[in-house]
């Protein structure tokens, strides 16, 4: 077990250094710093940074204001019976959906809502707000509030009903229960999701380009793109923007880790308490009788559907079905799926290794384990701060002896796509890894079970649903990934998102619409079908092996 753990952690470190550390440090070592400081002294870089900060800040605030109550409501609906738990899983799946959408599809959908001809523009959205900073903030909030709601709902659903009942019996009012019971439980997940939203808004690219209306609405990421494009791949001009972006994404991580050390420590001890009390939704024994139908549950799923799925299908209802027979479409789908077979396993190795390493290190008394955990935590915090464009360019420049973007490199695509997705997998898996069933594991070992046997019968049933759901989420995200594929595809032909862009360029708008529908359906399929199939397969395998 310890050898496997060492190999796993070694693999995570190696992959991160190959994909991020070496390219970024190699890139920084080649830079003419005099020129960079001169550019940093120019006010235009700072005005772009100011606008980036402004839109990211307000997008995060609004995502929190809307996402937290929604998450508390959805997560607070009890899930006692298998039917209720499966209902809850579906609702969580609906909230997860926007995250697997390619930003182009999401942007097109938002145009259908808040563009000059948009559905909302006719009723509540002033036309003058279209193609402005307000439109960017709207799209970021619509895209991210479901993530905040999901993380809060997941945490809320894990708070044992007994604890709340006990607090109520002991005379705690709603405000006191919120302050002393819910908030400390929810705070780590809330802070981590808000940091994630802030970082995502800082590095957001397509939504800003599509909905911002162009200069003067420019963020650091769009400036990096125009600088790179302008100078034909020379990144010197893009570096000041990339540095400011890195600083901006790292800042909240540093501040939150300094401020919330005590909160995290307290939460960890509470989680231990929760475990020792046998708490947690997944461990509640099923009721003997199915509870009566709950309209509140239906409304919650309906609201989740309205904000999580419905907006993305509005613009593409009139797509033409005949395009489904197009050979180019089949080939592009095949290529996209083939790429996932490379990048998904790497992303899962990174995500699982990182989340389990950090969780274990936080519990461990050994200094080495704690340092490893800190390093892995830092990687997760740092990685979303790197622009995909900068990472691709840096990767190419450092490995140019072996990797030529024009020749194409599946290895580069696989590694860089995995690097882009793994922080999200880490965040999804960490809570599960952070609260192992230590008492049950110890009991299993005392009763003669091997470490593997104990893990298989105690931990796996708890971890596998989260693991499969994160696998589905990652697969959906990778389907729509564009930057890395564009950079390193070489002559290997187009993936589905690239084919859609190609069709638009050739005036083939009907085909592009249908392509978008296929892409969204595939992404949705990945989010729901992979977890369900994998979970069923895992249960069958367990039954066989038992």
């Amino acid at each position: 077990m310890s050898l496997l753990r060492t190999l796993g952690l070694g693999g995570v470190f190696l992959l991160w250094f190959l994909g991020v550390g070496v390219p970024v440090f190699g890139w920084l070592s080649q830079v003419n710093w005099g020129g960079v400081f001169q550019q940093l002294a120019d006010s235009s870089a700072w005005s772009v940074a100011g606008l980036t900060l402004q839109q990211a800040f307000w997008s995060t605030v609004w995502s929190a204001l809307l996402g937290v109550p929604l998450g508390l409501w959805i997560g607070g609906i009890p899930a006692r019976s298998p039917r209720e738990r499966s209902w809850q899983a579906w609702t969580f799946g609906v909230l997860r959906f926007p995250f697997v959408l390619p930003a182009t599809a999401a942007g097109t959908a938002y145009l259908g809502l808040i563009g000059t001809q948009g559905l909302l523009t006719h009723w509540i959205w002033p036309g003058s707000w279209s193609y402005s900073v307000k439109a960017v903030i709207f799209s970021h909030v619509a895209f991210n509030l479901t993530w905040v709601a999901l993380r809060v709902a997941e945490e809320r659903s894990q708070i044992p009903a007994q604890l709340e009942e006990a607090a109520r019996v002991l005379g705690a009012g709603a405000r006191l229960r919120w302050a002393r019971l819910w908030l400390p439980e929810l705070l780590p997940a809330l802070i981590s999701s808000l940091i994630f939203v802030f970082q995502a808004c800082v590095v957001s690219f397509t939504l800003v380009l599509l909905l911002g209306g162009g200069p003067p609405v420019e963020t650091l990421e769009t400036s990096i793109y125009s600088q790179i494009h302008l100078s034909g791949g020379d990144w010197e001009g893009a570096l000041p923007f990339a540095l400011l972006q890195m600083a901006m994404t790292l800042f909240p991580v540093v501040v939150s880790s300094i401020l919330s050390q005590s909160v995290f420590r307290e939460t960890l001890s509470r989680q231990r308490l929760r475990v020792s009390n046998g708490g947690g939704a997944s461990w509640k024994s099923p009721s003997l009788r199915e509870p009566p139908f709950d309209w509140n549950r239906l409304t919650a799923t309906g609201v989740a559907f309205l904000i999580g799925i419905a907006p993305y299908f509005i613009g593409i209802v009139d797509a033409k079905a005949s395009v489904l027979r197009d050979r180019d479409l089949h080939e592009a789908v095949y290529r996209s799926l083939r790429l996932i077979l490379i990048s998904l396993p790497v992303a899962m190795i990174l995500g699982v290794g990182s989340a389990s390493g950090v969780a274990r290190g936080a519990r461990s008394a050994q200094v080495w384990d704690r340092w490893m955990a800190r390093a892995l935590g830092l990687f997760v915090a740092l990685t979303p701060g790197f622009s995909a464009l900068v990472l691709c360019l840096a990767f190419w420049r450092v490995y140019e002896t072996w990797v030529d973007p024009f020749e194409g490199s599946l290895l580069a695509i696989g590694l860089l796509q995995a690097i882009g997705v793994y922080p999200l997998i880490h965040r999804g898996l960490y809570p599960a890894f952070a609260s192992p069933q230590t008492r049950l594991l110890d009991a299993a070992r005392v009763l003669g079970s091997s470490p593997w046997g104990a893990f298989w019968s105690v931990e796996w049933p708890r971890l596998s649903p989260v693991l499969w759901s994160m696998t589905g989420l990652a697969a959906g995200l990778l389907l729509g990934e564009v930057s890395t594929v564009t950079f390193f595809k070489g002559e290997s032909g187009m993936t589905l998102p690239l084919l859609i862009a190609h069709w638009v360029r050739r005036y083939r708008f009907d085909e592009a619409l249908m392509g978008s529908l296929v892409l969204i359906s595939l992404a949705a399929g990945a989010v729901w079908i992979i977890p369900v199939l994998a979970h069923k397969g895992s249960r069958m395998f367990r039954k066989d092996s038992e």
């Binding site: 563009g115 001809q117 162009g214 200069p215 034909g232 180019d328 190609h502």
Partner: protein, 363 residues
């Protein structure tokens, strides 16, 4: 039947299969020898942009017509190199790595030409030019080494159903676009990331001179959005987001083909409109391969021939560079400006211009 005849017939019946086999083997050996004796085809590698080489693009149609014409002596391998800026990067990278890479580039425009010229086969002592270069329209010819094959005139495309007052009310001068009813009614591509946007910027700079900055500043409120590329811009236009988009006069031909001849119309101005010239060039990589150089020149001869030029309109939605090419019905009577300006700026001039533009639209 005489005994001799019987013997002969019998022997023929017996030997027929063997004779057939013998004949087959002779043909196969002969064919093999013939193909072994004939020289292998010269393979030319061509870099171009994505949509040019796409299945419905001009590239595949041109290449197959050329290979048919040369009876397989020359084969063309099209290599997609992203957009024109990526194409330039790739040529530079090949040169740094001393890699053979491409023998020809197709689809470079006048702005890219100035930056790719150093990599092109155009030695001073070699005055070669395609045989029928004189048949090309005068405004498409830039300089030796650049072989124009098509061009497009940039123009504002109007959705006349949504344009206030319809097509008749469309402005005829550039200043007319600054009128208040047109506020947030136009879509222009970002000049930093798109060729049409850059064409607009360079044209206004050339025509308006020192007053250009003032014009850009007053023009910004008229723009609804500045998307990164032509495809996004045109997509928004067709979605009905704005009634006008910066595109090509040939976009009208596309809509005519779709049966929408009255709705989408191009407008040109009295001061003139800018044009984009697309061309091809042989790279210096062929200098050590005389057979490739010869084949590449043969291809350029073909590229401006009547046969190849006739493919341009419906395959690339551009106008043929050659005079007198018979155009499809949808391309006839397209809007033609009184003056076509072909803006050409050096790399440093472009950088300076873009800086001025960025400052002007932010202020």
């Amino acid at each position: 039947m005489t005994p001799w005849a019987k013997v002969l017939r019998k022997s023929m019946e017996k030997s027929t299969p063997w004779v057939m086999v013998l004949i087959g083997v002779t043909f196969m050996v002969g064919g093999g020898l013939a193909s072994a004796m004939s020289p292998p085809p010269v393979v030319l590698t061509v870099y171009s942009y994505d949509s040019f080489l796409g299945s419905s693009g001009l590239g595949p149609a041109l290449f197959s017509a050329f290979e048919k014409k040369t009876q397989g002596r020359i084969r063309i391998k099209g290599v997609s190199a992203g957009d024109s800026v990526q194409l330039l990067s790739r040529v530079k990278l090949d040169s740094v790595r001393k890699k053979q890479g491409a023998d020809l580039v197709l689809g470079i425009d006048q702005q890219v030409w100035d930056r790719i010229r150093d990599f092109v086969d155009r030695a001073d002592d070699d005055r070669w030019e395609p045989r029928e270069i004189g048949r090309l329209k005068a405004h498409t010819r830039l300089e030796r080494g650049f072989v124009p094959f098509d061009y497009g005139v940039f123009a504002w495309m109007l959705d006349t159903q949504n344009w206030e007052g319809g097509f008749k009310a469309a402005p005829t001068r550039w200043s007319g676009l600054l009128a208040s009813p047109y506020q947030r009614k136009l879509i222009l591509q970002d000049p930093r990331t798109s060729a049409p946007g850059l064409g607009f910027l360079a044209f206004t700079h050339l025509v308006m001179g020192a007053q250009a900055e003032g014009f850009w500043r007053s023009f910004r409120p008229q723009l609804l959005t500045l998307p990164a590329g032509w495809d996004e811009a045109y997509g928004l236009f067709l979605k009905g987001e704005a009634p006008a988009v910066w595109s090509y006069t040939t976009s009208e031909a596309y809509h005519r083909e779709q049966g929408e001849s009255q709705r989408y119309r191009a407008i040109v101005f009295e001061e003139g409109n800018p044009a984009q010239i697309e061309g091809a060039a042989v790279l210096r990589t062929v200098l050590n391969h005389p057979e490739k150089r010869k084949a590449a020149r043969e291809f350029l001869d073909f590229l401006i021939s009547d046969e190849a030029q006739a493919l341009v309109p419906l395959k690339n939605w551009m106008l043929p560079a050659r005079e007198g090419v018979k155009l499809p019905k949808s391309f006839q009577d397209l809007a033609e400006p009184k003056k076509i300006v072909v803006p050409r700026l050096s790399g440093s001039e472009l950088d300076l211009l873009l800086q001025r533009w960025s400052k002007a639209i932010r202020s």
